[in-house]
């Protein structure tokens, strides 16, 4: 490991990324789709001189700015903060590869901000033409920032031939780029309509106006849903084989995919029979329910997107255990502990007797007395496995997933985790290291659950 490892009890630190990412995505997609909504609808309201609609749009714009410019923007910075803390190596690689992509995205952020403030604060103080122009510039800049960040997130899921060829554009236009731009654009449109329905139903303008809003915003929402399905198909078609296998295999992902499918069908039906055909249905209850559906779909979708990347953080480049895929053979020869500056320093300080000069002599690990071997094993666990497994209780806690395991099974899973589940990274250390890691797992593994019956009841068992 190139960096120190941040230990977050029970949850594991990468889970923090997932949480912040989900709340961010829920708002940032609205920041894109909502911009388009404000552009198209303000233009329409100006053209039809609909005062009431303009007043509503003014109120919506305030809500929009308050939510996206503050919460949306700062949670976005928050993702960056957490990836730096929980996945420093991946962040390092991504920033060195795409720093100019981010810098360009940042330019569009600043344009977005300026346009959003001008649109809101100069409401009624500029000509309609200029007012609509502000919204248009905002919407365009927001969408471009979506495209720019998608180049990077797509790269993380499928890096294509970048590991061999490298290059900014080669990484940016990865196999996942186009499908994800499509899906995210669709998600922005759909989610924006959901926020609009939610806001309009609560802020209850007149029923005539609600009808206009319901009907007009149903069209982009339906288009968004179609784009999501098309983009989703492209996403699936361009997944690496390992991701498809994970989707097929992991029960949680099976369930998530089923939920995603069900929610999509429900949203289609609600949209069509609701706002599109019967705009009068746009009640607060409908608004809230519909937005909840959107939130569930996005949350589940993001979790699936994250989960199928395992065992990589950056596909074929950075392992979830915070080493480079290319480093695995070297680590197997030289040792996992030896190969990371922090683990090497730790071992040298704690167990000077295993050092051969400044290097760790991995063979000497086995000369340590058992309590110290277990301690060394825990260090290995922390730095090699804790990104997905909690130590005692919590997320996939290692004692829980090894209940009642025999020592040979533990030995096997430690030496070849990838053969148990291909979404675990291979063990990147020496046999001595896997030995002490196995000993630590044995020390925390609970016994087989008592009271389970496998066969006919015996006389003693009936009491």
């Amino acid at each position: 490991m190139h960096y120190p490892w941040w230990y977050v009890p029970h949850l594991t630190s990468p889970m923090l990324i997932a949480f912040i990412a989900v709340v961010h995505v829920l708002v940032s997609h609205y920041a894109v789709g909502g911009g388009l909504f404000l552009f198209v609808e303000t233009r329409h309201a100006h053209r039809t001189s609909n005062r009431e609609y303009l007043d509503y749009l003014h109120r919506h714009a305030r809500f929009f700015v308050l939510l996206t410019v503050v919460f949306g923007a700062i949670t976005g910075v928050g993702i960056w903060w957490t990836i730096g803390l929980a996945s420093p190596l991946a962040t390092e690689v991504l920033i060195h590869t795409f720093v100019f992509g981010w810098a360009m995205e940042y330019v569009f952020f600043v344009i977005e901000l300026a346009a959003a403030f001008l649109f809101l604060y100069f409401w009624g103080r500029v000509t309609p033409r200029t007012h609509v122009l502000f919204a248009g510039v905002y919407a365009f800049a927001a969408w471009v920032s979506l495209v720019l960040i998608t180049g990077i997130t797509g790269f993380m899921l499928n890096s294509g031939n970048w590991p061999e060829r490298g290059g900014f554009w080669n990484g940016f236009f990865n196999p996942q780029f186009a499908p994800q731009v499509l899906a995210r654009t669709g998600g922005s449109l759909l989610l924006a309509s959901m926020y609009v329905y939610f806001h309009a139903s609560i802020c209850s303008p007149s029923s005539a106006l609600r009808e206009i809003i319901g009907r007009r915003s149903a069209r982009p929402a339906l288009l968004g849903a179609v784009l999501i399905v098309a983009g989703g198909a492209g996403w699936f078609a361009n997944l690496p084989e390992s991701s498809v296998a994970a989707l097929m295999k992991a029960p949680a992902l099976n369930i998530f995919m089923a939920i995603l499918f069900a929610v999509t069908v429900a949203v289609f039906a609600m949209l069509y029979f609701g706002p599109y055909r019967n705009p009068a249905w746009l009640t607060p209850g409908f608004g809230v329910l519909f937005l909840m559906f959107g939130i569930v779909a996005v949350t589940v979708g993001e979790f699936v997107r994250e989960a199928v990347r395992k065992p990589y953080i950056v596909h074929n480049v950075v392992m979830s255990s915070n080493i480079l895929a290319s480093e695995i053979p070297g680590h197997r020869a030289a040792g996992f502990l030896e190969s990371g500056p922090w683990t090497r320093a730790l071992i040298a300080a704690k167990f000077p007797q295993v050092m051969d000069g400044t290097r760790i002599d991995e063979r000497r690990l086995l000369d340590l007395p058992p309590p110290q071997r277990i301690e060394a094993g825990e260090i290995l666990f922390m730095h090699h496995c804790n990104d997905c497994h909690a130590t005692d209780t919590g997320l996939s806690a290692i004692p829980h997933v090894t209940i009642g395991w025999a020592p040979e099974m533990i030995h096997d899973v430690v030496t070849s985790p990838e053969l148990f589940h291909h979404y675990m990274p291979p063990f990147a250390g020496t046999p001595e290291e896997s030995q002490v890691l196995a000993e630590w797992i044995e020390s925390v593994r609970p016994p087989f659950p008592a009271g389970m019956r496998f066969g006919p009841a015996s006389a003693e068992g009936g009491e």
């Binding site: 230990y7 940042y106 502000f134 320093a345």
Partner: protein, 389 residues
């Protein structure tokens, strides 16, 4: 772990190399920080001063306070965005020390996000209470104002911790030892053992007051066209003592920092040629601004004077950013050689970025100009009087 050599904790050299030459990356790091510092100073010391003047200031002082608090949402929006630039380039150039340092203080570092969201919404709420020319905060909003001031100071303190720890490798082993579980870092530390932390924090906080003072003058000259002559006159009078107070703090804490606690390597880099040029101008430049404020006092600030003083302050902050870079590089020199990294220029993305950067500024200027011109025209139409320029 007391025996750990801090040098051994610098992260592994990356494999990719830099996407541009170090000078280019450093240029954007320093330029970006200068631009971040301008708005950041305004919320850092400005909200506190605005709340003090709400409580104890006269009518005109409260008027400035209300004006600043009303502008705060926009200032924060741009200031945060401008912070992204230096952070991006810091992570490119200094990843080997930046990530370890922030991981050591992970929870306080991450708390910045939560604190910032709170402070930001608080600032909106406070500004909302002052719309329509209101100058006096009332009720719970007063409390919120103080809370926002405290939150921003707390955030600034965490930043000071993060960036001082990034160069204070000496303390890494002890912090690690104190907060580790099986060698992994729990991230519940601060850089509290570092003698440079407090003077550095106080020095920058004092400097922020000088920027706030300049805001009074700039705002009165360039943005307060609707305010009375009396206000525009008193703004400059109020600015001078604020600036002098900030300047005094800057001198005291700056001397403590540089001559009292700064590591010898950084001090000698700052006091030897060519660093000394920047060190001396960094120390003297705020004085020049004070002189400018002194000559402006008691007169209504003109547009040109407001802009000129603001430009001077940007220069002050720019010089400060250069000096801190010299100190930072000197402190890290024994541990990190950023010129040793291979450079693989990413020409086309870089050029595209630069073009977009310039074009983006152009688009924004064009939009703002349109907004200002049209709103003035509409205003004078509805007033039936000729526009004021």
């Amino acid at each position: 772990m007391e025996t750990v050599n801090p040098q051994d904790l610098v992260a592994t050299l990356g494999s990719g190399g830099y996407p541009a030459a170090p000078w280019f990356l450093m240029l954007f790091k320093v330029l970006g920080f200068t631009l971040h510092a301008v708005p950041m100073n305004l919320w850092y010391a400005g909200v506190l001063l605005a709340m003090l003047l709400q409580a104890f200031g006269g009518e005109q002082a409260r008027r400035w306070s209300a004006r600043l608090l009303r502008q705060m949402p926009v200032i924060i929006a741009f200031g945060v965005n401008l912070g992204i630039v230096p952070l991006l380039f810091t992570q490119v150039t200094h990843y080997r020390v930046f990530y370890p340092a922030t991981i050591l203080i992970a929870w306080p570092w991450l708390s910045i996000i939560a604190l910032l969201i709170l402070a930001y919404y608080g600032a909106y709420w406070v500004a909302h209470g002052l719309r329509g020319g209101e100058t006096q905060l009332r009720g719970a909003r007063v409390l919120a104002g103080w809370l926002v001031a405290a939150l921003f100071i707390a955030i600034g303190f965490v930043f000071a911790n993060g960036f001082s720890l990034m160069t204070n490798l000496q303390d890494w082993p002890a912090i690690w030892q104190r907060t580790q579980v099986a060698g992994a870092v729990t991230g519940v530390a601060m850089n509290s053992g570092d003698p440079t932390l407090l003077p550095r924090f106080l020095m920058f906080f004092s400097l922020a007051f000088t920027t706030v003072a300049v805001h009074m003058v700039f705002d009165a000259g360039a943005l307060a066209r609707r305010e009375s002559e009396v206000y525009r006159q008193s703004a400059a009078r109020l600015a001078l003592p604020v600036h002098v107070a900030g300047l005094a703090g800057f001198a005291v804490f700056g001397s403590w920092y540089i001559f009292g606690v700064m590591p010898e390597t950084s001090r000698s880099a700052l006091l030897a040629f060519p660093g000394v040029i920047f060190a001396v101008s960094t120390a003297l430049a705020p004085g020049a601004v004070a002189v400018a404020l002194f000559t402006l006092r008691g007169r209504p600030v003109s547009f040109g004077a407001g802009v000129a003083v603001a430009a001077m302050q940007v220069l002050v902050l720019g010089l400060n950013a250069i000096s801190r870079q010299i100190a930072q590089s000197a402190e890290l020199a024994p541990h990190l050689d950023i010129t040793a990294e291979p450079v693989r220029w990413q020409w086309s993305p870089m050029v595209l970025f630069l073009v977009l950067f310039v074009a983006g500024l152009g688009v924004i200027a064009w939009l703002v100009r349109r907004a200002v011109l049209e709103s003035r025209a509409m205003e004078s139409q509805s007033n039936g009087s000729p526009g004021r320029g």
